[in-house]
């Protein structure tokens, strides 16, 4: 091994070239397959985390909720007997009153849930209670000391902050919150939208009952279709109502949204994966040619080694060793870069972490190893064939 490393160090430029070739081709392969996997994973995680039927759950992107007609739109929509409620959430942050100005590290993730969210995904409270209808009313919760907002804490957050049911929490904006419950450990909620497939772990975060706030409106609304309603009809009628009140709505069922994203992304990603495989083939051919031409450049050295007693096997192992050490280093570097770029599949925004669909899975690593081995085989074989033909006397030339 010492001899292999020494030999590598004597040919820095050549080895850097091999290293970079393998590194970038494998890295590109990883990035395309991770992207491909993310599409599939988003679909799976959204479906598995959602308790309601994705085919019967509408996602409505409402872009001018702050308009004066929104409440009328909402009222008419609910009266039309199309959907069972209109709910949604906002991912936000909570700032403790002890925070030093500018230091966002002290902030906590919070999810402001509107009434009815529990119909989309069950929320399990370990101690205390879940929100009641009254908790979402503006007249009951203003954030003042006497009418605090109501919140449910993540288990880790409750422990770290030493808070229990009934306690109060005061934030830097002079708003008061009252703890009504503590979640079971490992409770999860969606980040931004269901279809994005990013799942937030609430352990070190809080859930707050959302009280209508025209300054910070919810943009993504969800509704579960009533049993006798056809989804296409419902979307048509919703658009009609929205137009009446000059509200811009983009409504789709979650399954449609997931399918659209899936087919669009898959067709796009497949072409990138194919492109990355073509690159790998070219890199493999290029590396083999480079290895052989380099072997010819080193024929004098190989001849000297053979004249000094190196067997065919020992020379071959030396050349193989050099190539494999550099290539394996490049592969591991690509693996590390890919892992770091995906943050190991977890993303931290304030205090909570999110399972991202973009991550280096064992499957991708295994496929990567397979591809890497396939890439190495031609270079290794070509060395055997070329070296087998040489005799030490042919290799030692004059000056």
């Amino acid at each position: 091994m010492k001899e292999i490393l020494k030999s590598i160090s004597k040919r820095t430029l050549f080895n850097i070239l091999i290293f970079l070739q393998v590194l970038f081709s494998i890295l590109y392969f990883f990035s395309t397959t991770i992207s491909m996997q993310a599409v599939v994973n988003s679909n799976i995680s959204a479906n598995s985390e959602l308790d309601s039927n994705p085919k019967r759950t509408l996602h409505m992107l409402i872009q001018n909720e702050d308009s004066k007609y929104f409440s009328k739109f909402k009222e008419e929509l609910l009266n039309a007997n199309l959907v069972n409620g209109l709910t949604g959430w906002r991912n936000s942050d909570l700032t403790p009153d002890t925070r030093v100005i500018g230091d966002t590290e002290d902030d906590f993730d919070s999810v402001e849930l509107a009434k009815g969210c529990e119909n989309l995904k069950k929320i399990n409270v370990a101690t205390g209670r879940y929100f009641t209808d009254a908790d979402f009313r503006k007249e009951n919760a203003t954030g003042s000391k006497s009418k605090p907002f109501l919140m449910i804490l993540g288990s880790e957050f409750a422990n770290n902050q030493n808070l229990k049911v009934g306690d109060s929490y005061h934030d830097v904006n002079d708003k008061y919150y009252k703890v009504v419950g503590i979640l079971e450990p490992n409770s999860k909620w969606f980040y931004q939208t269901v279809s994005e497939g990013m799942i937030m772990v609430i352990d070190n975060a809080v859930m707050v009952a959302y009280v209508n706030d025209s300054e910070n409106p919810i943009m993504h609304y969800y509704s579960i279709l009533n049993d006798n309603v056809n989804s296409d009809d419902a979307i048509y009628k919703i658009n009609k109502i929205a137009k009446k009140y000059n509200i811009v709505v983009e409504a789709k069922t979650i399954s449609t949204e997931l399918n659209e994203t899936y087919s669009e992304s898959v067709s796009q990603d497949i072409s990138w994966v194919i492109f990355s495989l073509i690159i790998l083939v070219f890199v493999t051919i290029g590396t083999s040619i480079l290895i052989v031409s380099h072997m010819y450049m080193r024929k004098n050295e190989i001849g000297i080694r053979m004249a000094c007693g190196y067997s065919f096997k020992k020379v071959l192992l030396l050349l193989w060793g050099e190539f494999l050490v550099v290539s394996i280093l490049a592969f591991l570097s690509a693996l590390l870069i890919a892992y770091i770029s995906c943050s190991g599949g977890k993303e931290i925004i304030y205090s909570a972490y999110y399972f991202s669909s973009f991550h280096l899975s064992y499957g991708i690593v295994l496929i990567g190893i397979g591809i890497f081995l396939l890439m190495c085989i031609p270079s290794l074989l070509v060395l055997v064939f070329k070296l087998r033909k040489v005799q030490p006397k042919d290799l030692i030339g004059g000056k």
Partner: protein
């Protein structure tokens, strides 16, 4: 005591019309401790003979007995073992690896031998000292003069403790004074019990040897003491 014996060795390169007979039935016996020169015109088969003697090439036919073993029937692995432990080479253009230091170059044959690194290191140091090149240990061959490079090549040939040293025009790339110094060194090595066979065009070099073998058209035509 015979150290090597060639019996009716032939070497033919190419096939059909392009066939060239480099050696045409060579018979030769070398005794242990001999210091022998091989002379002959260009294309007479000197280098081919040296390559076969050094197990760097295999004969087309004939028998090559080296230290009692028939080399002509040996496989590559056994031949490389012989090149490592029984035969060493000194080449006209030194055949040193330019990227490596003098120390690494001398260490080269020992990389194929299995004993502790410290012992190998001591042995390399010993031969560097013996040949007066210890101060160049960390230098690259390209930083040395021709004579110094040839001393490095000789140190490399001695370090593996081989019985036979084959030298192909060892003074060919050196000026006459350095060449003479080198021949004195080879004589000294020969006196220590090593068998030396060298190929040369130079009469003065050949005179320093115990005897001279003349080769012409692939055949030994004369042997003079």
């Amino acid at each position: 005591m015979k150290i090597l014996e060639l019996k009716n060795i032939t070497k033919i390169y190419g096939k059909g019309d392009s066939e060239t007979k480099a050696l045409a039935g060579v018979d030769l016996t070398i005794e242990k401790g001999d210091f022998c020169a091989i002379m002959g015109p260009s294309g007479s088969g000197k280098s081919t003979l040296l390559n076969i003697l050094g197990c760097m090439d295999t004969p087309t036919s004939g028998e090559y007995i080296l230290k009692g073993q028939d080399v002509s029937k040996m496989k590559n692995k056994q031949l490389s073992k012989l090149r490592n432990q029984v035969i060493s080479f000194v080449f006209q253009y030194f055949a040193l690896m330019d990227e490596y230091t003098v120390f690494d170059n001398i260490m080269l044959p020992l990389n194929c031998q299995k004993y502790p690194y410290k012992e190998k290191k001591d042995r390399v140091k010993y031969y560097m000292k013996r040949l007066g090149i210890e101060k160049y240990a960390k230098k690259k061959p390209t930083q040395l003069s021709g004579g110094q490079q040839q001393r490095v090549a000789i140190a490399r040939a001695l370090v593996s403790n081989a019985d036979i040293i084959l030298a192909d025009e060892p003074t060919g790339a050196l000026d006459s004074t350095t060449g003479e110094e080198l021949m004195e060194l080879l004589q000294e090595i020969n006196e220590s019990g090593k068998t030396i066979i060298l190929v040369t065009h130079n009469e003065k070099v050949a005179e320093k040897c115990n005897y001279v073998i003349y080769i012409e058209d692939g055949k030994i035509v004369d042997k003079l003491s």
